[in-house]
């Protein structure tokens, strides 16, 4: 009897937990397009920040050959910049998307995408303005 009671209470708790999590998730999903703030590490699929980045990167495919090494830079502070880079890599899987902050990127990158930030460097040549970002070609000697 004690065992069944314990199991019953555990079951009731689990049911409440599941319903609470379902309710919270459904509510958050309904409000996702109104979540306009948030650092890159808080981004989730369907949020406007991801959609903005997607619009920016869609133009890269029309210009850059698949398989190219594309450096990526965003204005986020150091830790958050990592996550913005990871989202860019996910949205451009056919390219090798490298973080501009990595010292090894400079030797390998053929193109550079700057998202909501300006980069000045004599080695880069602007080839296209995209929604919210710029696409550069890296000049090689």
């Amino acid at each position: 009897m004690l065992r069944k009671t314990i199991l019953g209470f555990a079951l009731a708790g689990a049911a409440l937990a599941f319903l609470a999590e379902m309710g919270r998730a459904v509510g958050e999903y309904d409000r996702r397009e109104r979540r306009i703030g948030g650092r890159p590490e808080e981004w989730r699929a369907g949020m406007p920040q991801v959609a903005r980045l997607e619009r920016c990167l869609a133009g890269v495919r029309a210009t850059v050959p698949a398989g190219s090494v594309v450096a990526f830079e965003s204005p986020a502070p150091d830790g958050a910049r990592f996550f913005a880079w990871r989202w860019a890599a996910y949205l451009l899987p056919e390219y090798d998307v490298a973080p501009l902050s990595d010292s090894r990127t400079a030797d390998a990158a053929q193109y550079l995408v700057t998202y909501a930030v300006r980069v000045e460097d004599p080695r880069i040549e602007l080839i296209r303005r995209l929604p919210g970002c710029r696409l550069y070609r890296v000049r090689r000697p």
Partner: protein, 405 residues
């Protein structure tokens, strides 16, 4: 045997894709279809001869209905990608999409110096499944990838049901156990954003090994453990030590039962795991993928960081109190009925602790970001073992079928 059979099929599929990579043959959709048809044909040809026409279990009840509800709720939310694990976007999904784009495992991509962030040394079964799904469906769609978590969740529940039936628990325990397990996993799966996570595969591997670990060792059980182990080793890097633990525990049981070294059991247990681990290791070494952050010197002083972080993860809100189940392996070791399951869970958790004391990374952050998911890998099997262990002896058991695999 059905869950073990499904895992065996996935393991064989993984080995065949690895072979295609080694031979330099692209993963053409038509070739994938041929492989899947061939595997299905082999499964049909060598299927166990059932004594009667297969049908749904006659003891389906309210608990199964609740489990189905939890599974459906989790899966529907997963399809929106809103509950997707961030790691899907940071590396699992990247690899899957990349492998689909190039029709194979792109080792050159994995070996790029900045791609330390995508765990290039991890086994590739999950990205392979994502890539194959993309190639067969005409494109990489997140919703389709999220469905795999629903599949793994369903197989895990099927494995739990098999284990509880095999153990002969009474009807209330079976139904309550199914409902409890599904609701706990569903709640954590939604709240902790687990859609698309490879941790479902490790949890499934552990659960698939529970039925054979709950009965005296036999050849069918050895194979079930072997393929569960191989599946774990193909899924995540912590699946490799788990595979070793599963094989070791089953081998020790064989030795204890036969009072001699059972070479055939050793072969049954070792070959599937070797077929997965050896190619993975060779490719990782060949392409320079192994990461230095995987191991380091043991540092006991980290206990001051690890202790509080573990306390915080066990009390995580998304566990709703069920995180404390991670402490159950210790008392469950005293139950002869479930000692092998408790041993696997306890040893795996000890291994995880060892990694925290040695990995040269930010320890506190490492525990907080990984231990909730490592707990998720063992808690399902622990809950099933707890129900079996506390089943009163001498009660008329529920219907128990032939070995469940």
């Amino acid at each position: 045997m059905k869950v073990a059979g499904a895992l065996a099929g996935l393991v064989v599929f993984h080995v065949l894709l690895t072979l295609l990579d080694v031979l330099g043959i692209p993963w053409h959709p038509a070739l994938l279809v041929a492989l899947l048809l061939g595997l299905s044909g082999l499964a049909w040809r060598f299927r166990p001869r059932a004594p009667e026409t297969p049908r749904l279990p006659s003891d389906l009840g309210w608990g199964d209905g609740v489990a189905l509800f939890a599974l459906a709720g989790f899966t529907l939310l997963a399809l929106t990608s809103w509950t997707a694990i961030p790691d899907f976007f940071y590396h699992w999904g990247v690899k899957g999409a990349r492998f689909a784009a190039v029709r194979g495992t792109d080792y050159a991509f994995l070996a790029q110096p900045w791609n330390w962030a995508i765990h290039p040394d991890y086994p590739n079964l999950l990205p392979e499944l994502y890539a194959a799904t993309a190639l067969l469906s005409g494109g990489f769609e997140e919703a389709g990838m999220m469905l795999w978590s629903g599949v793994f969740f369903a197989l895990l529940l099927a494995g739990a049901r098999s284990a509880l039936r095999q153990a002969g628990v009474e009807r209330f325990s079976l139904q309550a156990g199914m409902a409890l397990l599904a609701l706990v996993l569903g709640a954590f799966g939604i709240g902790h954003l687990m859609a698309g996570a490879a941790d479902w595969m490790i949890a499934l591997a552990v659960m698939a090994a529970v039925p054979p670990l709950l009965r005296p060792p036999d050849p069918a059980g050895d194979l079930a453990v072997a393929f569960a182990a191989a599946f774990a080793a193909a899924s995540k890097i912590e699946g490799v030590p788990l595979a070793g633990l599963l094989v070791l525990v089953q081998l020790v049981r064989n030795v204890a039962a036969e009072r001699r070294v059972p070479w055939r059991a050793a072969l049954r247990l070792g070959l599937p795991v070797a077929a997965v681990v050896l190619p993975w290791l060779l490719q990782a070494i060949r392409h320079g993928l192994l990461q230095s952050t995987n191991s380091g010197a043991f540092d006991a002083s980290r206990a001051a960081l690890i202790g509080p972080a573990l306390w915080e993860t066990v009390n995580l809100a998304t566990w709703h109190g069920f995180g404390w189940a991670v402490l159950l392996p210790l008392p469950l070791l005293f139950s002869r009925k479930v000692r092998p399951v408790a041993a696997v869970a306890a040893l795996l958790l000890l291994f995880d602790l060892y990694v925290y004391f040695t990995a040269p990374v930010d320890t506190g952050f490492y525990v907080l970001s990984s231990f909730p998911r490592l707990m998720f890998q063992v808690i399902p099997a622990i809950l099933v073992a707890a129900i079996v262990a506390t089943e009163p002896s001498g009660k008329t058991p529920g219907k128990s079928e032939r070995p469940a695999g």
